[in-house]
Amino acid sequence: MSDSRSAILGRIRAAKGRQGPLDEAKQAELRARLTGRPRGIIPTRAQGDASELVAAFSERARAVESSVAALAGLDDLPDAIADYLAQHNLPATLRVAPHDDLNPVDWAKRPTLSVSAGPSDGKDAVGVTRAFAGIAETGTLMLEAGPQAPTTLNFLPETHIVVLKRSEIVGAYEDAWDRLRDKIGPDGMLSRVVNMITGPSRTGDIEQTIELGAHGPLRLHILILENG
């Protein structure tokens, strides 16, 4: 235990008029707060039934310059991506997350697409990843890092395409955290990185005028799978 650590904790306790750590009863109360998921104020904009939330998510995602399209299912993914890239005159070379849902996709349906899987080394034009949740409150995507989800794909390619199931769209940030906590279990650890992404990269650092594509992606395209 470092000297600085005990000095800092000592000063905190002295300032709070205590000799040592909080008493056991208080600690138990705080531990209960840590695991009890108490809910604070959830804004009305984060509430609604499933179809309202999907509509709100799409509208707010578009408001921050994401583009959003709906697909019937994963079978339509090659067409949707190839058409989007052609429409924007972008290279048809994809770097895809090695995700269980994306691995079986039959990319050969669109022979113009050149597809590889894995993390990005910075030379990829287009990254395709799978989100964990969509948050209607602000049109925000939640993506977990892990063996099936390289973080580099979220930031290095100029175009980021994210696949999200309709059933994964929730209202508030807290709803997404609860889903994640349920997934990892009471003793589990949060993934190394959880990215909340709201629109493409931007900066206002030159004269307070927002421009897109500062360091991260210039374009964020969200594909919502209706059947899922």
């Binding site: 804004p43 709201t198 900066t203 307070q208």
Partner: protein
């Protein structure tokens, strides 16, 4: 960073005469204030969320030792390391030791005000490491060898044309005749110059907007994505954070995030909010091999339990300076150290002492807009007033101010004499000023009349006018009038 706070008056005079700065400040005021107002209007629960954010942080500060220990245990469990630092020197040394141990050559940095507070860049450069700021604003001021002038928009004082000149001067490998007129062109040039730096770096340093006790996570909030690349691509990720960044849970952080971006830039949410927990796991395809957090005190625990504890709720959104008439006139550099505006006027004397930072709490008209817009409901004017009192009590106020207050105090405690003297003074001023209605010069008041005319008083004090119109003077007067009415 050299402290220039005691020269606040001279700094301000220069700032007011700086034409480029005045143009830049004008642009800033248009942007931030309107955008925040719009975001606030679109969220009916905004003020209730501010109360909630204040309560969460108060709860955390009351139990901060428990939450810091819980956080530390969670970081350790995730494979990360927590280093406690008493002050700036210790924090710098921890970073230097890490650089040495991993045999680093190059360091990339996400935007961090704590890094400015501990003057990290200078220490790293002195030790021979290449240091690259990756946030566009920080990158611009690094090229200009300047300090940030705003906590979230570090280059707010720089005009587009100046950025173009800086890029031409420093990006020497590019065509010197390339057009650099559009903002987009400048941003894309910075993007391509910096892209390789992320890959070359051995260590990536970021700050933290929050530390989460529940999970041992650090959180960064950015719009550019530079912070994410800074922490993902090098071998080692170092987080430097002051200890009051701690909150209990992911939900608590989310609740405060609802007011952060709206107050800062007027966005509902920033583009990238990233929660990081430990180093790369066995199966992970990317990410840093080591994850370190430096928990900095540097004067914060001394504020706990005092009238300045409320300041530790600050989430560094910048709303107070965006709405401050003083900041809007002189900009951030005049404040002379790391933190400008109203939050700086409280933090600066707290961290570097009233003797050095005491000028800043005086740089306020007490208009109260900072407290009105603060998402964490920090009573900034109240704390500035406390520092003014402290400055006076410690005998640090200038002799002229002390003399003036003594004279005023003498008369103010003798009401009859006070009325007599003010009657004479006002009578004289009223007579001399009757013709023009204003004075362009007055003895002892050049601080005012050098810059603007002083309106001439009507010749009679308010109290005299009130009496002559039959107004009540005392409580018993009032009662009497009440009875006769």
């Amino acid at each position: 960073m050299q402290i220039k706070t005691p020269q606040f008056k001279e700094n301000s005079r220069e700032a007011l005469a700086d034409a480029n700065l005045q143009v830049a400040l004008g642009k800033m005021k248009e942007g931030f204030i309107g955008r925040r107002a719009k975001a606030r209007a679109a969220l009916p629960e905004f003020d209730a969320l501010r109360d909630q954010a204040r309560d969460i942080k108060n709860h955390t500060l009351d139990n901060i030792d428990f939450y810091l220990e819980t956080y530390e245990a969670a970081v350790t469990r995730s494979g990360g390391h927590v280093h406690w630092a008493e002050d700036a020197a210790e924090a710098r040394q921890i970073v230097l030791d890490l650089c040495k141990r991993v045999d680093a050559k190059s360091v990339t940095k996400g935007k961090s005000m704590i890094s400015e507070e501990i003057a990290l860049n200078g220490a790293l450069e002195e030790a021979g490491y290449e240091v690259v700021e990756t946030d566009l604003g920080e990158y611009i001021i690094q090229l200009r060898k300047e300090a940030p002038s705003h906590i979230i928009a570090p280059a707010v004082h720089v005009l587009k044309e100046q950025v173009a000149d800086d890029f031409r001067k420093h990006h020497t490998g590019l065509d010197p005749n390339r057009p650099l007129v559009e903002r987009k062109t400048l941003i894309s040039e910075a993007r391509s110059v910096l892209r390789q730096k992320y890959f070359d770096a051995d260590i990536g340093i970021t700050g933290a907007n929050f530390l989460i006790a529940e999970t041992g996570s650090s959180v960064i909030v950015t719009n550019e994505g530079n912070g994410d690349m800074t922490q993902t691509l090098p071998r080692v990720h170092v987080v430097i954070a002051s200890l009051e960044k701690i909150v209990p849970t992911l939900d608590d952080a989310s609740a405060i995030l609802r007011v952060l971006a709206r107050s800062a830039t007027g966005q509902d949410f920033s583009s990238y909010t990233t929660f990081s927990t430990g180093p790369r796991r066995a199966e992970d395809p990317d990410g840093p091999e080591e994850y370190h957090v430096i928990l900095l005190d540097n004067g914060r625990t001394k504020m706990l339990g005092t009238e300045f504890q409320d300041m530790l709720r600050c989430i560094r959104c910048g709303a107070c300076m965006n709405h401050c008439p003083v900041y809007g006139s002189v900009g951030g550099h005049a404040y002379g150290w790391v933190y400008p505006g109203p939050m700086g006027a409280v933090l600066t004397p707290s961290f570097i002492g009233v003797d050095q930072g005491g000028q800043l709490p005086n740089a306020s008209t007490f208009c109260g807009r900072c407290a009105d817009v603060c998402p964490m409901r920090i009573p900034l004017p109240k704390m500035m007033r406390a520092y003014r009192e402290m400055e006076f009590e410690n005998g640090l106020a200038p002799p002229a101010v002390r003399f003036g207050l003594d004279v005023w105090g003498f008369f103010a405690s003798r009401p009859k004499l006070y009325r007599m003297v003010s009657r004479i003074g006002l009578g004289l001023l009223g007579r001399f000023g009757r013709k023009r209605g204003r004075f362009s010069r007055l003895p002892l008041a050049s601080g005012w009349t050098d810059h603007r005319d002083m309106a001439a008083p009507p010749g009679k004090s308010f109290q005299d006018q009130w009496s002559s119109r039959g107004g009540a003077r005392t409580v018993s007067d009032l009662k009497r009038k009440g009875e006769t009415a």
